[in-house]
């Protein structure tokens, strides 16, 4: 398929996207149905960034404070770009969407809500979601929607590093000591039931087939990225059944409420304030 028209590279940062969708010289406005799709992707990234942000100053070594901080920051950047773009359809800012929606209005898949657990659990979740993001953003970089394509083109380079980081740690922890292997297995068993939901139908994606990447089509590239890492780590895919999911429809785990309460508390105490 021919390459879609790309916006200038200046559109890539959250601030530049904000500039292009707001203000007097606004040149970009998301269509309502594209915005609904972008909102789900933005929520996935936002909720994950919120989780990763609580590792800083608690990581097992200083290098990991830096690495997890960096990954959180990249992921937050993706969230900001996607939410800013989504909000342009409804005259809402990224902060309106992040801080002033309730739980049932969030559209994140449930795997992103999962509590961090220990370092092994965080790493296994990070392996899964980085492989998913890699497959997703590779596809989305070919979107007919120029802004989504530009956001994805920036993100795909960053998530490649995240996947590398998680893969190296998965192997190291799985083959390190008895304890680290036990913790990795526990993490894998806890995370894996949430994997299928990543590829479940998303009505918002179905509504814009040219702009969106169909979730079902991501399973194969995801497996191609993750299964070799598990094999290298001498880990088997757990047999536990998949959970029902439903995040894209506003059905969430019990973990999301407390996460949002913490994230939103200060902003909601001062509605209308500028920070």
């Amino acid at each position: 398929m021919p390459n879609p028209p790309q916006p200038s590279s200046a559109v890539l940062t959250p601030e530049a996207i904000a500039a292009s969708v707001t203000g007097q010289d606004a040149t970009v406005r998301a269509a309502d149905d594209v915005a609904r799709y972008a909102l789900g992707l933005g929520d996935d990234a936002l909720v994950l960034a919120q989780r990763l942000g609580s590792w800083i100053a608690s990581a097992p070594e200083l290098e990991e404070d830096v690495a997890l901080g960096n990954i959180a920051l990249d992921t937050l950047g993706h969230a900001r770009s996607l939410l800013t773009y989504a909000g342009s359809a409804w005259d809402q800012t990224e902060d309106d969407l992040a801080y002033f929606r309730d739980e049932a209005d969030f559209r994140c898949r449930q795997i992103f809500e999962r509590p961090n657990g220990d370092f092994a659990c965080t790493i296994v979740r990070q392996l899964v979601v980085s492989a998913y993001f890699t497959a997703l953003y590779r596809g989305l970089a070919e979107s007919t929607d120029a802004t989504l394509a530009a956001i994805a083109a920036k993100a795909v380079k960053e998530v490649a590093y995240h996947l590398d980081h998680a893969s190296l740690w998965t192997v190291r922890l799985a083959l390190g000591t008895e304890e680290s292997r036990r913790r990795t297995l526990t993490g894998l068993e806890a995370v894996w039931p949430f994997v299928d939901e990543l590829f479940a139908a998303d009505p918002a994606a179905d509504a814009v087939p040219d702009a969106a990447v169909a979730p079902a089509g991501l399973r194969e590239p995801f497996d191609a990225l993750v299964l070799p890492v598990l094999a290298r780590a001498e880990l088997e895919v757990p047999a536990a059944p998949a959970l029902r999911g439903g995040g894209r429809l506003g059905v969430h785990s019990e973990a999301l409420g407390p996460l949002l309460a913490e994230m939103q508390v200060l902003a909601r105490r001062h509605p209308g304030a500028v920070w």
Binding site: D65, N70, R80
Partner: protein, 328 residues
Amino acid sequence: MPAEDPPTADPAAAAAEAARLAAFDALIADDKRIEPTDWMPPAYRKALVRQMSQHAHSEIIGMQPEGNWITRAPSLKRKAILMAKVQDEAGHGLYLYSAAETLGTTRDEMLDALHSGKAKYSSIFNYLAPSWADMGSIGWLVDGAAIANQVPLCRASYGPYGRAMVRICKEESFHQRQGFEILLALMNGTDEQRAMAQESVNRWYAPALMMFGPPDAESPNSRQSMAWKIKRFSNDELRQRFVDMIVPQAEILGITLPDPDLRWNSERGHHDFGELDWAEFQDVLHGNGQANSLRLAKRRAAHAEGEWVREAARAYAERTATSERMAS
């Protein structure tokens, strides 16, 4: 590392020792840099390890009060900036530990000294940060004071320290600006936001001034440090410079600095300011601040909880090295 020679009665060795000391003194006098492989007096090495490791410890303990606000930052832009800042602090800790390792002390040894309570870190982080506005005050006042202290360290006589400080100072200046900007947004905001900013500055002003250390007359380590050109200006000189810097900035913010004796002295060409509570300084320094035990407990817990991860990484590295040896 060049080993320090034991003291000797041998006159030839004593002459060689005197020559090395003279060469060292000449390098210092010429404003040249001492590098890791150069000979240096044991006391110079010790003073540097003390100062550089304290500085590194301050960076990593300093991540805590701000790290605690990342999940609650009131806008996504502020969240991103705060994450980047705390991550920079981890990075500064890394450079400084690495620079200190060139003096022959390992990071593990330095961390053990921190965790056991033997090594100090900046006392400022033993104050609590219960308000969002504290993210502004920490950036503007605490990082501002740190910059005033650290810019002259870019010329420190020990090469790896001076070079690490060049990079650190660039990032610190961004940190100070973002703190100022947080306060400016609050001061341009609602009544509640303005009150939040003023309340926070009221708490941080005096502790920030005390970051330069006790008055010169009572600072035992300063004189030697200045003679060795590790330190370039005295505590009181730096404190004065800092006050002169923040007074006009406070005016732009429209914030009141909580010091009734603060006024311009045209004869001196500097601001006069009130006496600081040095009893409080000593008290916090000796472990009785609001957060001394909290900060150290959190650091120890993170280290202890990470032990199995570091152990796994070591075991995996050894296993990989062994299988590579077997293969070759």
